[in-house]
Amino acid sequence: MENDIVEFKGLVITEGEHRVSDDVSTHGYHSFEIGQYRFERDEYFVSIHHPKGTHSMDVDHFLRDTMRDVAWGFFYGWLNFDDVFGTCNRYGSVDMYTGTYNGAYREAGSDYIERFDSNELLACLKEMLSDWVNEGFNPFQAPQETGTSVGRKNGNNDEALAFQRETAERMVSMPGDAQIRTDEGGTPVNRHFSDVAQDEPEVLAEPGFENELGAYNFFAYLSRSPVTWNPSIASVVKASAYCPTSEEHALPVIHGNDRVEWFIQLSDELIWETGDKVTGAPRARVTMKAGDVSVMPADIRHAGLSPKRSMLLVWENMTPGLEKRYASGELPPVPVSF
């Protein structure tokens, strides 16, 4: 049963593109349908209709979650928008569920899950964001940095929605690779990191070795991140990826791992609340301060809170097929036993 709910091997992909309503609501928004799901928004809430009922969410929260789903290409594993609704990446297809990973919903038989082609669902969510995100609201930014998500339809912010994270192939600053962030490049130091040193290291290469040696100010790079909860890739060693990110306010999603990942808190403080990946039952509260290191086991979900903008190093293993090895039990959820 445990593996069934984790893998859902028998689920068939619902074919077909999404559908957008011809008319807009009294608040000025279109509604969206894909498979048996229908999404509507009003001034404050999103209603998610499915064959077994309707789930409602605060629109601000929904848009921030959807932005991460789109920006991360559905990421690894489960992106729970809250304790009821979310998506699970099957790598080529995506499950969209309501209550499937909530113990109470499952026990009552009130849960619903449907599988979609990744590209089809992505197209639906992108168009939904474009319609539902108003001018002045950036779902990548912390609440104090941006305008409001509530209210009637008022323009759009497609420019913000198009943000692409930087992904280094080897290391930021190396020739031909992702480069450092600068004022001139439109990435000034964030207001919460005004005291972070911006000095660059010295690279004194001998003639002929200019392209082989490299270094940059990693913390300054992070201090200039224009978004929150959106890791870039700063350095890669084989399949080992440093994915640093600046965090402020709350991680919009509750991330359910399909593999192990590690967190290294580089500055300030971040609080993680963990729960059982399948049922959501609370497990622990992990408070991380500067220098702390913690694994996020492959059998949990985690929600994050950062009272001040902080620097987090997310460390990922990009080896293909890991999710299957964890799901089968070949790899234990905690990578080290002692």
Binding site: E202, V203, L204, N317
Partner: protein, 166 residues
């Protein structure tokens, strides 16, 4: 009043904690602190603080000159405290370079013969590439903490029971 960004040092360790709420154990989080690990390590030990299959993040307390090292694959280093110079040499004797499939850094007996590639000087918050096939040596002008992105190898030290919260 502008906000202050808080960092740790070996002299001033900020450490969090784990509060178990439900069915869980502190051991499951392999929770440690870079600066505690460095403080309690010998010079240039490479203590594994994070491990994901064969991949590692290792912490090293840098004091003065390190041995010379070389690796078949790239590594990176972030200076988490202090300041360190890294000297690079391209070995003239190809046998010094580990086989392509060899994981992790190899410690050399002596400074290798070869061509000077250059030096890189990193301070707090800086990240440098340690390129594959280049011999390197750390020279710390002050006691430093280095965080190294690598693969498990001969120099990787695992002492989880000593470093993790239980």
């Amino acid at each position: 009043m502008p906000l202050k960004t808080v960092f740790s040092t070996m002299e001033n360790i900020q450490k969090g904690n784990i509060n178990i709420i439900g069915k869980d154990e502190k051991k499951n989080y392999l929770f440690s602190n870079i600066y505690e690990v460095a403080r309690d390590s010998l010079e240039y030990e490479r203590v594994v603080i994070a491990k994901n299959l064969e991949y590692t993040i290792e912490v090293s307390k840098a004091v003065g000159n390190s041995p010379w090292y070389i690796c078949a694959h790239d590594e990176t280093v972030v200076c988490m405290e202090g300041a360190t110079q890294i000297n690079f040499i391209k070995p003239s004797d190809g046998s010094v370079i580990p086989a392509e499939e060899k994981n992790g850094v190899v410690k050399l007996d002596r400074k290798p013969e070869g061509i000077k590639m250059g030096i890189v000087k990193i301070k707090f918050g800086h990240q440098a590439l340690l390129p594959a096939g280049a011999a390197y040596q750390f020279n710390a002008s002050e006691i430093s903490v280095l965080m190294i992105q690598s693969v498990i190898g001969d120099e990787s030290i695992e002492r989880w029971a000593d470093i993790c919260e239980v």
